[in-house]
Amino acid sequence: MRSPRSRSPRTIFPEVVVEANPSSPSLAQPSTTSPVMPPADFSARPPSAPARGRIRNRRRRIQGRGNVAQVINSETHFIDRIKRFFPFASKSSANNSAADPIPIAGSPVVVPPRTTSTVELQEQLPAEELTEDEKMEDLKFYMEQIYLIIKPVICCMALSILWVKLTTEFEENYSTGIDQQSPPQTTVGSSFGFSRNSSGSAFVSALAILGQIVGATILVAILFYFNCMKILYGVFVLIVTALLGTFGWTLASELLSIHNLALDKITFWFFIWNLVAVGVLMIFYKGPLFLQQAYLVLMSSMMAYTLTKLPALTTWILLALLAIWDLIAVLCPFGPLRILVETAQNEEREIPALLYSVMIWMMATPGDPPSSSRPSSTAPTDGTRSTISRRMSAARSDSSSWNVFHDYGDASALIGPSFAVGSGIELEERSKDRSPVAATGPRGEPMPNVSPDSSSARETAGDRPAPSDTAAEVEEEEAARGGLKLGLGDFVFYSVLVARAALFDWITTLACTVAVLTGLNMTIFLLAMYQKALPALPISIAFGILFYFVSAVTLTPFINGLVRRPDKVIVPGAETWLWVGQGGGGGMLYV
């Protein structure tokens, strides 16, 4: 966004096209000595069965690895990241010097995401349209991504519902849902816990909360923009500690008091201390992937539960405002989240994964669909590739995050030796003895979505200090890379909505859950269509609020009306009421 480097290639491109295109046949010809080498025009790739099998295998492995890794936690190695980032921040020593030979080769590759300008480029090059086959591959990719994303979202919602149900008073369980024979005449608002005189103050308090969120978002965007990564990480550690501590404390003490359990203070403090310490270690240092995911989901659900303590009206106003703010922050030209993403893309930095674990990140960003990694996934089908073809394919895999650039792959192969740093490897057949540089290098994996251009791949390939990555870690990281990402903010506020509904009724809860998930599905399909970061809250929240009110007003009485039952007998002075069998039995109608 602000870096001139990234702006220039946009303007250079057309010329590069003109020069690169004629050279492509001559370059591609030698490589076709190998029998199965795909033709130079990669967009017309042969639908060879092995290639498809490979793609599928790779995806399956990604699916098999931890999914929240893709969703929440784009990287697991905090220390590595710090090592990588801080030289970059303090003095441009390792990163830039290593990247220095590249600029010429790299500059055509550093491409903005599919913003309007890229779309224009695509229109200029009709030959680069995705074929039907690739569209299907993309679609399938997104299908699996939706599946992977939905699981933790459902977990988070279920946990928040569980907290709400566990902490609600017992007697409310008896009156869940089913109303009296003649419901009392109430206004709509009062039945949802609105009190008459609080609407003004509810709006004000919702605005106050929103203001804090906006402020935090802007602050983080500024910190990231000016590369103050140390401060950012410090703040995140503090926030996570505080969140885990206070919410864990609140929830645990509430559970204890409501269920009338006795626990001495020392044990309680020990429990909370353990929860926080292990959580911070898991999230920021390293730990089993499953535990990391569990902690992040747990944290979001506890946060959502805490937010249900707000008055009902405040919650609804807050959710509506958040959806609007999300739209602004992600889509407006100077929205902080947009600035964040564009900075990350243009400056070859990844947004630290921790951002995802903090609640202000409220958008879904697209993963790289398989069409972007297409050349590299087809190239290895032939075992006997010449080095130049390998180099080409690697360069392509580097540059082909955009389909626009398949033809430039040849151009970058021309200038390409510097690209071959981590590229002359079998892209698909990873074995354990592979060098770590190669493993993290451009290998045709979907790049981290926040920097769909090749920059981060180049960065990791070129200047990453050779760490002692085991193959498992590499795969983990790789699994963490491709794929959609959903902010924890979305987790939290989806769960707030559902937990709010859970305070009311089971039917409403289920309706809201399905509505929110459908909204999420639609958002991801839109993501697949537009290929840029989209706000994940608006559609889901709109659906959720709509379904909440409709189902609370009409659906719940409707379903309860289908159950014929005798009158309830309310015993005065008793804690609860009874159904007394003398009044005749009941029965359920099933529509």
């Binding site: 699916q63 299907m136 679609l139 399938k140 299908m143 699996e144 939706i146 599946y147 992977l148 939905i150 369980n173 008896y174 869940t176 849902g177 089913i178 009724d505 089971w506 039917i507 289920l510 309706a511 399905v514 509505a515 998930l517 459908t518 599905n521 379904f547 409709v550 189902s551 007003v553 009409t554 659906l555 719940t556 009485p557 409707f558 379903i559 309860n560 009306g561 289908l562 159950v563 014929r564 039952r565 005798p566 009874l578 159904w579 069998g581 005749g584 039995g585 009941g586 029965g587 359920m588 109608l589 099933y590 529509v591």
Partner: protein, 233 residues
């Protein structure tokens, strides 16, 4: 009693459907999404029904009218969902794990129907299930020896699979441009739903009859649905 009856009823109502869901549907991403979309459509249908029910006051006192309205809207939304799904038909076939299998259509239809069924089972029965954690029971009017929650659990578990069978039959017909199978499925739906009117009635052994009606319809429809799989044309 509370916890025991809760788990008993829950597993009775949702156990078979959950088994199918976890063993079959969750294996494929696109099936899960299909199921969720169809569940959403069922939810839409019941919301529209409930809005009409809420507006038209006389309906609230005539269960037969309520059932008619509900079943009609569900079948309409089944048709709408088919229209939507047939637009995505080629895509769904291509991205399935077996792109050219003739079983794709019945499979998609089954999963869609399961989505309808699971959502209807959840919405219809979940509040009773929550109530069944309480200390008391409500006896069934037609068979005083059984309680309402248990009857509801059996009915729910049957209806989930009835929906799947109806969906397979209806989709099979629509894929071939025939409306007769859909008519049959809708008729069976009306029959099964009106059959549940027997449960709260004062007819002797009405609940047994309503369950029997559901079971018979389920057997017949499952047979027909199975024939849609083997039907080649």
């Amino acid at each position: 009693m509370a916890i025991i009856s809760f788990f008993g009823n829950a597993l009775m109502a949702y156990g078979p459907a959950l088994a199918v869901f976890f063993l079959h549907v969750t294996q494929h991403a696109q099936l899960v999404i299909l199921l969720m979309t169809s569940a959403f459509f069922w939810l839409l249908s019941i919301l529209v029904t409930s809005i009409f029910w809420y507006i038209i006051k006389p309906l609230q006192y005539t269960p037969a009218g309520t059932i008619f309205l509900g079943v009609t809207f569900q079948e309409v939304f089944r048709l709408l969902f088919f229209k939507l799904m047939s637009k995505a038909e080629t895509g769904l076939n291509t991205i399935s794990s077996t792109p050219n299998s003739p079983l794709n259509q019945p499979n998609n239809a089954f999963v869609t129907g399961l989505g309808f069924g699971i959502m209807s089972g959840l919405i219809s029965y979940v509040s009773q299930l929550a109530e069944s954690t309480g200390p008391a029971i409500v006896r069934c009017n037609s068979c005083p020896g059984v309680d309402v929650f248990f009857m509801g659990a059996i009915t729910t578990s049957l209806f989930i699979f009835l929906h799947a069978a109806w969906n397979m039959i209806a989709f099979h017909g629509w894929y071939r441009g025939q409306w007769l199978p859909f008519g049959f499925a809708a008729l069976a739906h009306y029959a099964a739903s009106y059959g549940t009117l027997l449960t709260p009635s004062s007819i002797n052994c009405g609940c047994v009859m309503s369950i029997a009606i559901c079971v018979v319809i389920l057997i017949v429809c499952s047979g027909l649905a199975f024939r849609t799989i083997t039907d080649k044309n």
